[in-house]
Symmetry: D2
Subunit: 313 residues, 4 copies
């Protein structure tokens, strides 16, 4: 990984927030991890991000997290960069996971703000700098206000970007003004990586100067999201329109079964089980769909899968 981490080339493209395959008893499904990684790399992704929100990091034991880090880094090797979410409420546990990731060969860590206490921007800055000083890998900030209750404000990002190990930010706020404000603030620092989480807005941010997307749906159909990213990079509006339409169909149909706050997570992972990529098992407090919900999802999924076949990406 030495070449990657010392490279001047910033990360760009599709970096799926990999779901964590689990058995019904909550233990790691290593066989599915292996299958899923090959599925993603075969799909052309530009990196793999484990232990993010979509990876259900918060519901996993530390042992499971370490097992996943080890397996992923080992299996991926030098093929694409591996990013590891080490978000935690305890800075000591974050540091420990970050150093474990460094030893495993990860490319970088990704860190959302500490998410229990309500804190101010100054405290947040203090936290991130203390963490960056204590670890050896590059770090991405992770803006996720719906989960952490605070925004990493633009001025805070600017201040933090002066730290040599803070190399980018993933924004999952879906707030277009915030993201454009970051793009503008960093217009003269072209190596500071700015990616978005929500796949529905990935293409437009790439058109406006963004670096790509951490798209959950790329777990399912990596080629589609890679094709959308490439089309946006190339300003190929014809292809973009087709791919964006498919992405929106997934968003509307796969992520909205039931009226759960977790419909996205349940719809995504259950659809992946239809492809044999994992079991439809979740870390607590999530639990599987009911049978009728599974059937509703399956019929929606089949329409989308058939349509995607037509696209011949």
């Amino acid at each position: 990984m030495t070449l990657l981490t010392t490279s001047k080339e910033p990360l760009r493209g599709i970096v799926p927030p990999m779901i964590t395959p689990l058995h019904a008893d909550g233990s790691l499904d290593s066989a599915s991890v292996e299958k899923l990684i090959e599925h993603l790399i075969a799909g052309g992704v530009h990196g793999i991000f484990i232990l993010g929100t979509t990876g259900e990091f918060s519901g996993l034991s530390y042992q499971t997290r370490r097992d996943l880090i080890t397996q992923t880094c080992s299996q991926v090797g030098d093929r694409v960069p591996v990013l590891v979410g080490v978000t935690d409420v305890s800075i000591e546990e974050s540091i420990a996971l970050a150093e474990f990731s460094a030893n495993a060969g990860a490319y970088a860590v990704v860190v959302a703000p500490p998410f229990y206490n309500n804190i101010d921007q100054k405290e947040l800055t203090h936290f991130y700098l203390q963490l960056a000083d204590a670890i050896s890998l590059p770090m991405f900030l992770y803006n996720m206000p719906s989960h952490t209750k605070l925004v990493i404000e633009v001025d805070t990002v600017i201040e933090l970007s002066a730290h040599e190990r803070i190399i980018g930010l993933k924004d999952s706020s879906a707030h277009a003004v915030y993201f454009q404000s970051l793009c503008h603030a960093f217009r003269n620092q072209p190596n500071f990586v700015l990616m978005v989480g929500p796949e529905e807005m990935m293409a437009e941010t790439v058109l406006m100067g963004g670096f790509g997307g951490v798209c959950g749906g790329a777990n399912l159909f990596p080629e589609l999201y890679v094709a959308l990213y490439v089309a946006a990079e190339n300003k190929d509006f014809e292809t973009m329109k087709v791919c964006q339409g498919a992405v929106m169909e997934i968003s509307r149909n796969i992520y909205q079964v039931g009226q759960y706050k977790s419909s996205y997570m349940k719809g995504l992972k259950t659809s992946m089980s239809f492809l044999g990529l994992c079991e439809a098992q979740f870390a607590s407090p999530l639990y599987p769909f009911s049978d009728s919900e599974v059937e509703e999802l399956r019929s929606r999924f089949e329409v989308i899968a058939a349509d995607l076949t037509q696209l011949s990406l």
Copy 2:
């Protein structure tokens, strides 16, 4: 206006949410209204929206609102469509203003959800349908969750769009996933107008199929926003980049003096006073900047105005 309202051509482009020029005593500054309208039309705007949030509708008496409607419709004539905000907590007052607007010659009304009580989507739908049935002008929905405490959900918009008088939506949520979801939902109804409020995201939404923007900064520099819109329409990324940079400079400098929740409103209107377009007077509860804030704003403004001159839009 008959031609306009029966036209099949949906509204597109830059429709500034016109600020309301006021005297220090709170009364309408009609001379400035006249000057401002000519400034906007000379700047190439595609419509004028009065009595929106930027127009401080909520702080104005009903008499002032009616005076502004009459003057604006009369002065604008057939040159561009006039949209009138008739948002109110009382449906009867909304209807009365809408009919007054119709008689004055307005093109359409714009209505945010009733914003005092906390209500459900079904109640919201009931409200909008009752209102649409009672008025004679076309209506735009106005999604403004930061002010009204609720989102007009995508399914609600779909249901409401079946009403012949509900012809579009202005989204000021800045939520890119929401807006893309609307664009996708209406991909086969190309006459349903989808515009965004926040100017920072206008260009990207036009690239993705949006109809334009209700951009506050167009009160100040209409040519800039029109140029940005046209560049986005034409996929002229070179020009877009330059204009977007200028728009972001305005966003970062003009709208962020002081730590007020109202910094946008105060920065915009006070900057307009520098151009002689209005006085820096506000409807209560807003009040003018302090002298030092005005000077801080002025020095920022002068840099931006000088830069814009270079652009020769």
Copy 3:
């Protein structure tokens, strides 16, 4: 009313936020207004508050508001103080309603913060002082963050209380720390009236030094709330327990039919229709319960009404 308004005795007790009886077409049901006022006064209430949130002020036209003010003040006469909600987003309309209320013989006005724009405490202070300067009646502040999106902070209340016409505050936040903080801040200003909205917490605040409650349920069963207030004043824990139990049964059963954000309003007004006190008609955007919801409510109501008869208040 001269005696009342110049009296040194602060308001104490139960001041129901009177519902506004309406016909199906939205017009004022004056016959029910008359009946309801007599019902309340016969029930022993210590004041009547019209045009509050429970009075659906925001959904009424200005003409309806003025009609209600006139009728209520005239019919109540000197029997109890009449408080009038003149909350509005436009200070000019608030002032106009306040002066209309003064002429009609009201005791005081009640004003929640302007509720459309997001504002700061300094702007809020500016608004309240400007309003207090412009009117002739005493004024109660009205803390209602769920509807207005901001809290009138304790320091703001302290600052505002220096104005001679600002004589108290009604707190509908249900936030016990906030209310105790106010009680402590005003421990040496025993004439500054501090009342709570939520009836479920009225008794405990009276035990701790509060002045009483603006209890919605007192529209239905005024004697119950008066008895609870008197028991709390007298530290009669035996009676308090019985009455508090009844109040909580109302809260749990009458206010929670359906899963509406408006279940309180619909349950209260519909129950009042069972007593013949009004029709179950609402200002838009609310609309009546379905038939099955009415029957569900009716069966709950009958249990409660029967239990209350047993209490022989």
Copy 4:
């Protein structure tokens, strides 16, 4: 501890959420832990709750948490019940800490909802039942919406209370209607313990049937909070008023230095350092007050400490 856990007598009184004494390097300050425990027991507290929000649980490593559990249970012995916060986002880590606590001799565990993902009541119920099934100690629910983003709704509490190991709830919402609704719902289950967090509302809830308070200020002045609790239990309004006044002075002066979201935590722990009970050191992301803030706090603290001496509790 066998007697305690099998006892039918529910917990009542003052159970301080013990702060966690730390050294500047973040390690546990065991000498201060010892001193603090004796300070609390000498002050008459009815239990000790470690690793709550005030105990900065979220900022501590698991090793530090285990060290604190071991030391506290061992030192306290049978003198008062020890409650241990085992809130976590991972159910496996919660279970591990709960079993560790059981082995150390704790009385019960306290668990707030998993606080990263946004979840529904059904998922929350699923989580709590799964946890309760997996552990051997009794469990208190911990309602803390400002930190966990969701309320444990009354109906959820009722459903969960059917589990034999779920024996009570600590409510830190400060929402008086919520707490009264719980008191009413459990009026016929007198062993289900209902306590509040915010000390400003403790007395009134005890008057209304609550079981006591988990009061942060009792770290500093345990006698004061015990005296207030006893006075409320005895309906001794004279003493209650004096003690409540002192508690409110602490709330207003000690917890509100600076404009930090963490002013409570910083003010409390720094004041404790004035008494020699711990160092003014915090778990990241919190950091110490500046010198001038310390001096501001010290002058406020000295007034309060002097006043308390007068009370001779």
